[in-house]
């Protein structure tokens, strides 16, 4: 089974040279720490920066320089700043090649829910609806089941949706899943995780090939 770092490492393997990438809050943010050697990617944050660098050294934080998670950041050489309308022009206009974000639920036709639990929790969608509606390439980083042990990989989402039919790939602590033809397809299993466990914890329809390789991290 993977921890959060493991999920981030596995997603980082999907990065390709020359891509502009938007990373959501939480596990997705960690992906920036594991860029494969020899490739160059640039990170976009929807609050208005391209070319995000690492967190600042203590004492060098700048209140005017944050990412979409409101964390203090730095920028790399060649970075740029812009307003929110321009930022979402990059996103809607499909100038960003990959979006990685978290989810509360994902369904087998690619629906995603991650912004609201009616009557309990409302944080708002932020930029997630714009991101999922427009990006060609969306990877969801999430846990396979909730704290009560119920699957979050579903036939149909139960929570209010963030987007419909948009998720193509899901990476959890147990597996890499692809979504196509209205079904989940098991692509890889996490180290030490059996196919049976993944089947048991997946509520949605799951296509399991004869041989399921273990992730190489």
């Amino acid at each position: 089974m993977l921890d959060k770092t493991g999920i981030a490492k596995r997603i980082a393997q999907e990065l390709q040279d020359g891509w502009y990438v938007n990373l959501g809050i939480g596990i997705p943010t960690l992906v920036a720490n594991y860029i494969p050697e020899g490739i160059e990617v640039e990170f976009q944050s929807e609050n208005g920066v391209l070319g995000m660098g690492p967190f600042p050294f203590e004492g060098e934080e700048d209140a005017d320089l944050i990412n979409a998670g409101k964390q203090t950041i730095t920028v790399r050489e060649g970075a740029s700043f812009f307003d929110s309308a321009t930022s979402f022009a990059m996103i809607r206009g499909q100038h960003v090649q990959l979006t990685v974000l978290g989810a509360m639920e994902v369904s087998q036709n690619g629906d995603i829910a991650n912004w609201k639990i009616p009557g309990k929790m409302v944080k708002g969608m932020g930029g997630a609806m714009d991101l999922v509606a427009s990006a060609d390439n969306i990877i969801v980083a999430m846990m396979h089941s909730n704290k009560a042990g119920e699957s979050k990989i579903l036939k149909e989402c139960t929570l209010p949706l963030t987007g419909v039919g948009c998720v193509k790939k899901v990476v959890t602590e147990l597996a890499v899943l692809e979504i196509k033809d209205g079904k989940f397809h098991l692509i890889e299993r996490a180290p030490g995780v059996s196919v049976e466990e993944i089947i048991a914890k997946t509520e949605g329809d799951l296509v399991v090939p004869e041989f399921v390789p273990e992730m190489q991290l």
Partner: protein, 231 residues
């Protein structure tokens, strides 16, 4: 044209109960903190505030929520603010949550004379309820209408007496679009300089969008999530 007003009190003259205000900023970054403090002091009530976030409990627009001066919020993200969530879930506060990109574009459109536009964001979700859907390039889009405000209050790094503005880093965010969409736009700046001191090549918001400008007395510039790495 000289747009300079003496201070924050003079800048906010004319803001009355039940008005719609746009307030720049993303989280606590690039918010007009002097103007927000003055709104608390003025006690203006039943405001509709268009702002990406609602600050935190004790800073930013959170201050106006504490004093119950806001009747309705139009925002995209309200996490990190317990009082906001409480007022929203209890129904005390009317809240219109809209996707961040749509919020930015609705402000831009409002300032640019575009009454509405189609976007794919929110199709198939609660956000699309009651909105016209059209297919473009084989993909469904929903109709979003422009937003304008009685007053837009923005915050810039530098400004000149003509109302030209320069923003710093990610403190730019919603400020340029909101400056365009206010019937009256108030800019509070960290540094106010005479016309001619800012390079015209580097102006982010041209002075035509700004009616009043003043230098803020002090900026706390609170950091919401201080994240650092070891040396």
């Amino acid at each position: 044209m000289n747009k300079v007003v003496k201070n924050v009190e003079e800048a906010l003259v004319g803001i009355e109960d039940r008005m719609t205000l746009m307030i720049g900023g993303f989280g606590l970054c690039g918010i007009p903190e002097n103007s927000i403090a003055e709104l608390v002091k003025k006690g203006t009530k039943n405001l509709t505030c268009i702002s990406n976030n609602a600050g935190v409990d004790d800073f930013g627009l959170g201050l106006l929520l504490q004093t119950k001066q806001i009747k309705k919020m139009i925002s995209s993200y309200v996490g990190e603010n317990d009082e906001f969530e409480r007022q929203m879930l209890s129904g005390e506060l009317e809240v219109d949550l809209i996707p961040q990109g749509s919020l930015a574009e609705r402000c831009r459109a409002g300032g640019a004379g575009i009454p509405a536009f189609f976007t794919p964001a929110g199709y198939g979700t609660e956000v699309a309820e009651g909105k016209e859907v059209r297919i473009y390039n084989g993909k469904p889009h929903i109709l979003e209408e422009a937003l304008t405000a009685d007053f837009a209050i923005v915050k810039a790094w530098k400004g000149d007496t003509e109302g030209n503005l320069v923003f710093k880093a990610t403190a730019m965010n919603f400020n340029p679009m909101m400056a365009m969409a206010g019937k009256i736009t108030i800019a509070e700046v960290e540094e106010l300089v005479p016309a001619g001191q800012l390079d015209p090549n580097h102006i982010h918001t041209p002075g035509i969008f700004v009616q009043r400008i003043f230098q803020g007395e002090k900026f706390e510039k609170r950091i919401e999530q201080r994240t650092v790495r070891k040396r």
